[in-house]
Symmetry: C2
C-alpha cells in the first residue's frame, strides 16, 4: 500500500498526476481466479503483449501459470530479466538474427527456456543462424496473418528438424473469432479453425498445441495451452462478449475546462487511449464527444474544473503500451478516493 512521504497517509488515485492508468486490484484477482478455474497452471500460457508489465506477469506466475507468450523479443528479454523465463514462447515470427541471437544467449546462459514460432524457410534459417534451439510451427487457421497453410505444416516441421531445431508442436491463433459477439458463430468458427490446427499437428507432432485467447477461453477445447492476456483487466471491445471477466482498467483524467455548452474537457486523449476499437467510455455518467491529442471532450453530466473522470478504453493492449506505469488501486469505481496498492512499471514496451 503506497503512503505519502510527508504524512504517512495512503496515496489515493486523486493524488496521482493525470492522465494515469489505474487498474483495479480486486478485479484483477477475480479475473485471474476465474480463468485459473477453467485453465489452471500450464493449460494457460498468458500473453504478456496485452499488459507489457512483468509485475502483472508475476501475479500470474503466483497463480500457477509459469509459462508465458510474448509478441516481441524485448518482451522476452524483459521477462527473462524479471526472473520469469521458465518457459517463454515468442508467439510471433521474427527474422532479425541480431534480435534472435539475444534470445539464444539467454538460453545458453541458463536463464530461460525460449521457443520461437516459425512459418517459413526464412524463419527457420534465421532461427537456426541465431542459435535458437526450439520452435513451434505457426499455422494459419483462418485469419490472414502469420502462419503457414495447414497442409504445409509437416514440410515446414521437416525443414526445421533438418536445420537442427527441436519442434515442440504447433500454434494457431483463431483471431478472427476472438471478438465475434454471436456465441454460436464463435464456437463454430473455433471448431473449424481448430480442425485445421489438429490436421497440422497430425503432420508436425510434438507435445504443444497452442492457441486461443480471451474471447475463446471456454470454447477452444483443442489447444493444450491457451494464449489469453486481455482477460486480466478486460476492455470495452471484449466486454461485449458477455464473458465472466470484469473490466478493471481506466485512464484517470482531470477536468481542465468546462465549456459554455455544458461540455467538459479532460486532460487525456489520443496519446493516452488507443482508438483502433473506437473511443473510450466514461466511467459513470457522460459520453465522449471526441478525443484529440491531449484532450477528451465529454458531455452529458455536470462536471466542474478539477473533478476526476475515468475513461475506460475500448482496447486494453495498445492503451497500456502508451503509459509508463500501471497504478494498482483497491477500488477503481471510487474514483479519486481509490487507494494506491502498488505502482507497476510498464517495462516491456517498445520493440
Amino acid at each position: 500500500m503506497g503512503t505519502k512521504q510527508d504524512t504517512g497517509a495512503p496515496v489515493k488515485a486523486g493524488d496521482l498526476a493525470t492522465p494515469s492508468l489505474l487498474a483495479d486490484a480486486g478485479v484483477l484477482e477475480r479475473n485471474v481466479a476465474t480463468m485459473a478455474k477453467v485453465r489452471p497452471g500450464l493449460t494457460l500460457r498468458p500473453h504478456v503483449k496485452a499488459f507489457k508489465c512483468t509485475s502483472l506477469a508475476a501475479v500470474l506466475k503466483e497463480a500457477g501459470h509459469t509459462a508465458f507468450c510474448c509478441a516481441t523479443t524485448r518482451e522476452v528479454s524483459g521477462m527473462v530479466s524479471a526472473g520469469l523465463g521458465n518457459d517463454l514462447l515468442l508467439a510471433n515470427e521474427v527474422i532479425d538474427i541480431t534480435r534472435l541471437a539475444v534470445l539464444s544467449a539467454h538460453v545458453t546462459a541458463g536463464e530461460a527456456r525460449i521457443t520461437v514460432a516459425v512459418d517459413s524457410h526464412e524463419g527457420i534459417v534465421a532461427a537456426s543462424a541465431a542459435g535458437i534451439t526450439e520452435v513451434l510451427i505457426d499455422v494459419d487457421v483462418g485469419m490472414p496473418r502469420c502462419g503457414c497453410q495447414p497442409d504445409e505444416a509437416g514440410a515446414v516441421a521437416d525443414a526445421a528438424r533438418a536445420a537442427g531445431l527441436h519442434v515442440r508442436g504447433v500454434m494457431g491463433y483463431e483471431g478472427h473469432m476472438m471478438h465475434e459477439v454471436n456465441r454460436t458463430v464463435r464456437e463454430a468458427g473455433v471448431v473449424s479453425s481448430m480442425s485445421m490446427l489438429e490436421s497440422a499437428h497430425d503432420q508436425v507432432g510434438g507435445d504443444v498445441v497452442s492457441g486461443g485467447g480471451t474471447g475463446t477461453f471456454d470454447c477452444n477445447d483443442t489447444v493444450n495451452e491457451l494464449q489469453a492476456g486481455s482477460y486480466v483487466l478486460m476492455d470495452g471491445d471484449y466486454a461485449r462478449l458477455g464473458l465472466p471477466f470484469e473490466e478493471g482498467l481506466t485512464v484517470t483524467t482531470t477536468v481542465i475546462s468546462v465549456g459554455g455548452g455544458g461540455h467538459a474537457v479532460l486532460d487525456g486523449g489520443l496519446k493516452a487511449l488507443a482508438m483502433d476499437s473506437g473511443p473510450p467510455e466514461v466511467q459513470g455518467n457522460g459520453k465522449v464527444l471526441f478525443c484529440a491529442d491531449e484532450h477528451t471532450t465529454v458531455v452529458g453530466s455536470s462536471w466542474k474544473v478539477g473533478d476526476r473522470v475515468g475513461l475506460r478504453p475500448a482496447h486494453i493492449d495498445p492503451t497500456i503500451s502508451k503509459h509508463e506505469h500501471i497504478y494498482l488501486v483497491d477500488d477503481i469505481m471510487s474514483g479519486g478516493d481509490a487507494e494506491l496498492v502498488e505502482t507497476w512499471p510498464v517495462d516491456l514496451r517498445g520493440w
Copy 2:
C-alpha cells in the same frame, strides 16, 4: 551521417531494427522553408506536441522560430532542458499546482520565459498559487474544447490581473476547421472563428494573438503567431487538404510472413501507428487489410519474407509519441537503401 562501427559504411534504413520511425531530411528541410516564407520568425510559434522531439525543435529554432507551443508540462520542461526555453507557451489548461510550480521554478532560475493558457477561475488560482507570472486568455472560437466564451474573456483577464498575473494576450484554436477539405468552407470558418478571437482580444488587450495550425496556415490572417506543428512532416489526414507541404514520415517494417492468399504480414501494428484517423497507407504499391497489435496485414503486391515496407501514418502526432526515436534519413522513398543522417530521441513523450 551515421556510420557502421565495424566497416565505416553508412548506416542504412535497412540496417535498423523494425518497426522504426523514419523521417525524410529533405522533406523536413523543404517543409520548414515553405512555412518560414509565409510565417517567418516569431510569426510562427511551432507546436512541439506534434513531434515531441527537441532535436527537431532545434531545427526550427535554427530556421528563426525561437518561440514554441507545448501541450504538456513535460514538454515545457524538456524544451527548457534542451536550451529552447526562450519563449514557451503552455497552450493548454493545467490546474495541477505541483506541475505548474516546476514551470515557475524554471522561470525563477532564469532558464526560460513561460506563459500558461488560462480559461477559468480555477486555472487562474492554480497558476497564481504555483508562482506562474504570465498567462494568455484561452478563448473558445467554435470547437468544443478548452477556452472561455468570447464574451467572458475580458472578465477572465481582469481576474487574472487581479491575481497578479501578467496577461500577454489571447489564444484561440479553430481546430474544427483544421482538417476541412473544402477550402472555401475552411476559409469562411476561420474568418468566423477569428472574429470571435478579435472580439475577445478587444476586451483582453495584450500583444499576443495566438492560434491556428497547419491546416489554416495560409488563411488565418488574424493571429500574429501561428501554432502549427504537423506541417514539418505531415500525415495522411493533412495530405488531403492539398497544402504545399510534403509527407515525410513512415514507419518502416519487415515482412515476417507471406500467406497462401497472397497477403504479407508486417511487424508493426497498432502499437507503432496511431489509428484515430484510420489505418496507415502503404508506401508504394499495396493496401492495408487490417492492423493488429504488433502486425499489419497488407495485400496487393508481391512481397517476400525479409522485404522492407514503409507505412505512412494517417495522424503524425500520436504516431510519433509511440516511438523512442525518429531516424532522420536522406531519402525515405528509397526504402531500405536510405542513408541514416541522424538519430533523434523522442524525448518529450508522456505527461
